[in-house]
């Protein structure tokens, strides 16, 4: 009897093993009840033959309904509900599912680069645009697909496409609000009014303001350091100020004729930033504060200021309808007495992995995203985006923001992570160094020396002629 039971079990196990090892069905027939749906534009020519090597690839033909999953990996702060809703809408139209793989921001670039270096990247990967990043971080000429011939490529703002272009080829879709001002200090107007405070124009005024707030039991700044990237903004975003004090500095740095460590303005900025931390202006738990809590904290009215984008007030209003967007005002980061607005045409960008088996489908997804109605949906349903770098969309600029932008119309400049090579690729490393500076294991000049050292390492590795 036992033998029969054993034999039956063995037979079942072998049968299961064989069934498990069997190849899955490779195709799933489209539903016969519904006609195949195509993704606009309908007039896009189909690539019937492979393009000639010297010519840009032809725009993608929209795929028919099929059972395909596209993997899309991005940092946690780059994906919003509107992205996921558009992904579902795309799936309804095409049957192509978008699998959003969201990675914690402090680990994202390490994970992404490891995947790229080991040849296991997802179909779509998110990355920060900027020519240096494209070459050094992502090696787009090897790892990404040329998108120059896509229908949306010529419509995207030229300033923005320039940041995703290498050797004349466009590699990324910047589906991000890069045009409505950079990272500025958002302040709570009611708190400022209560304590009779005005917008500071120098660091001394800013420090005095923070001390007054702290003295009254109000935490002056919310600085989410735990994410590893946000506190870095205080340094390279002040590029316009560095350039104002030392004209041509970015060019000199790119030509390896200047060093970060030799620049007194940068040293001042880091020294003042450290002072903000050590004086307790960022709160007792800044090192563990998280970017994800920004809305909740600022809506609570317990913190007076935070460095955020100009869309932040609307973001807070959407999350907390009782807190109106006009309860926040803006001013530029006043370290080193800066009064210039920082602009950055680069931003989180979508790339197609060159090793993807579904390049045509991803191109169709990008085409779908850049349809006017979908872009408008994105703007209307994403508080983080006031506009997108494409014509024909209706932006959400408030009168407050418009006035702020107008006031800085002639007082603006480009941030250093975009203007200076080899800065953005070491963003997270700078973040670690700044934390070491805050906690006393590294001094401001040490942070600058480390930046120079990493720049030299990257430049030499990339065989930059200015470093040979």
């Amino acid at each position: 009897m036992k033998k029969i039971i054993y034999a039956t079990c063995a037979f079942l196990l072998v049968a299961l093993l064989i069934a498990g090892c069997a190849a899955p069905a490779t195709t799933v027939p489209a539903p016969t009840s519904a006609p195949p749906t195509t993704v606009p534009p309908t007039n896009a020519p189909a690539p019937t033959q492979p393009p000639a090597p010297t010519q840009p690839p032809a725009p993608t033909q929209a795929p028919t309904k099929q059972n395909i999953t596209l993997t899309y990996m991005a940092s946690q702060d780059w994906i919003f509900d509107a992205d996921q809703a558009l992904g579902k809408k795309f799936e309804e139209k095409t049957g192509i599912h978008i699998d959003f793989q969201i990675v914690p921001s402090d680990q994202y670039f390490n994970v992404l680069k490891t995947k790229l270096n080991s040849g296991e990247a997802p179909d779509i990967f998110g990355g920060q645009s900027g020519v240096t990043d494209l070459k050094l971080q992502y090696d787009v000429e090897k790892n990404a697909v040329d998108l120059s011939a896509e229908p949306w490529a010529k419509q995207e703002d030229p300033l923005v496409t320039a940041q995703s272009t290498v050797n004349g080829k466009l590699y990324g879709l910047t589906y991000w609000d890069t045009l409505s001002g950079g990272w500025v200090i958002n302040y709570n107007k009611a708190i400022f009014k209560k304590y009779n405070l005005s917008v500071p124009t120098t660091y001394a005024e800013f420090k005095a303001l923070c001390q007054k707030l702290l003295g009254n039991g109000i935490q002056p700044l919310y600085e989410p350091i735990s994410d590893g990237w946000h506190h870095v903004l205080w340094f390279p975003e002040l590029g316009p100020r560095y350039e104002q004090v030392t004209p041509g500095l970015a060019d000199q740095l790119n030509a390896n004729k200047a060093k970060f460590a030799d620049n007194p303005t940068m040293l001042t900025v880091l020294t003042q930033l450290k002072e903000l931390y050590t004086l307790g202006f960022m709160g007792k738990n800044a090192l563990s504060d998280a970017y994800a809590d920004r809305d909740k904290i600022m809506a609570s009215g317990k913190v007076a200021m935070t460095v955020m984008g100009t869309a932040f007030p609307q973001e807070v209003e959407q999350a907390y309808p009782d807190v109106k967007a006009d309860s926040f005002g803006f001013f530029v980061m006043p370290l080193a007495d800066n009064q210039l607005l920082n602009l950055n045409p680069a931003g989180p960008t979508k790339f197609i992995y060159s090793g993807s088996k579904h390049i045509a489908e991803v191109k169709a997804y990008f085409n779908f995203l850049t349809q006017p109605e979908n872009m408008q949906y994105y703007i209307d349903n994403n508080p983080r985006a006031l506009t997108l770098p494409f014509p024909g969309v209706k932006s959400k600029f408030t009168p407050e923001l418009q006035a702020f932008m107008d006031a800085h119309k002639d007082k603006r400049g480009t941030v250093y992570q975009t203007a200076v090579n080899y800065v953005n690729p070491q963003w997270m490393d700078i973040g670690k160094d700044l934390v070491a500076m805050f906690t006393g294991t590294l001094d401001p000049s040490g942070v600058l020396k480390n930046i120079d050292q990493r720049r030299a390492d990257m430049a030499k590795t990339a065989k930059d002629p200015n470093w040979q």
């Binding site: 390490n110 490891t114 270096n117 090696d139 934390v435 070491a436 906690t439 294991t441 390492d457």
Partner: protein, 309 residues
């Protein structure tokens, strides 16, 4: 001279056992395993040693010999690698000591002390060992949050505010916190090994010692500990190799922070690899490989000498 008396009825069995004991298997039995081992372990390791002397990186297809440049970089004071090596050594040494002491204490307690419901306690203590490190780390990241975490909230609730710390974000507390979480997770596994070792010690030894008037401490010191030396050798080597290779718990709990306070050799290898600096990464991993072989061998030799002694 010892004389062995054999029952003629069991002679056949005895002869079979004798043959089996002295049987020498042919070498080709091991060739299959040896080829796989050479192909997938030894050859890649040797290739790693070769690449450690090159400038292999993700930005160029050229791989050039650079001599000891990568090693010079690792051992130069200004680069921080020595700090990461020191962190790795601290983590390894402290976790070996703490985990071994706690696991041994628990093993003794649950074999010679607590009898009632002992299997239940063993299971509970062993449970963290089967949980994925990622899940454990994420849970502890939440528990150890200084503002909202369960630990500090609990301490504040019961009035022990002075014990509340910025566990994972204070440079002086980050490494002890990581070690604490690692101990919580790893101690059950070691405890089970040690329980097996204790239960293998013949009870007659303890009974004889008790008759001779030995107290519990003397029984532990002069019987249990020497008898457990082979087990301790195994657990020490396992802990040593684990400690030197530690990565996942640090990556999730602190990502090497705050600053570089908890960065270890493996987190830096990952960092270098992600930056595309394969040459430096392989140099670091080659050094670690040699260190693991050397230290592992040393520990086994020392422990075996103790046994022989």
């Amino acid at each position: 001279m010892n004389i062995i008396y054999i029952n003629p009825a069991n002679l056949t069995t005895f002869i079979q056992q004798l043959i089996m004991r002295n049987k020498v298997y042919p070498f080709y039995f091991v060739i299959g395993a040896l080829v796989l081992y050479l192909l997938f372990f030894v050859v890649p390791s040797l290739m790693g040693f070769f690449y450690a002397f090159t400038n292999w990186n993700s930005y160029s297809s050229d791989v050039n010999f650079v001599g000891l440049e990568n090693f010079e970089l690792i051992f130069s004071a200004g680069q921080g690698y020595l700090h990461y090596i020191a962190n790795t050594i601290v983590f390894t040494v402290v976790t070996i000591i703490v985990k071994t002491v706690i696991a041994l204490a628990l093993a003794v307690l649950l074999t010679r002390g607590v009898r009632r419901l002992a299997p239940l306690y063993r299971m509970i203590i062993y449970l963290p060992a089967v949980l994925p490190m990622l899940a454990v780390s994420l849970i502890f990241r939440s528990i150890l949050n200084p503002a909202t975490g369960l630990l500090n909230t609990g301490l504040h609730t019961i009035g022990l505010d002075f014990l509340a710390q910025k566990w994972l974000v204070d440079p002086s507390w980050a490494m002890p916190s990581v070690i604490g979480v690692d101990t919580w997770k790893g101690v059950g596994y070691l405890m089970v090994i040690m329980i097996a070792g204790i239960e293998a010690i013949p009870s007659e030894y303890f009974e004889a010692a008790a008759i001779d008037g030995a107290n519990s401490w003397k029984s532990f010191r002069h019987i249990m500990l020497p008898q457990l030396t082979p087990v301790l050798a195994v657990t020490t080597v396992l802990n040593l190799l684990y400690g030197l290779k530690v990565f996942d718990i640090i990556f999730v709990l602190t990502n090497g922070g705050p600053g570089h306070a908890t960065d270890t050799v493996y987190t830096i290898i990952f960092d270098e690899f992600s930056k595309g600096r394969y040459g430096v990464a392989t140099a670091l991993s080659s050094l670690l490989f040699l260190a693991m072989i050397g230290l592992g061998y040393l520990v086994i030799r020392v422990m075996n000498r103790d046994i022989e002694g």
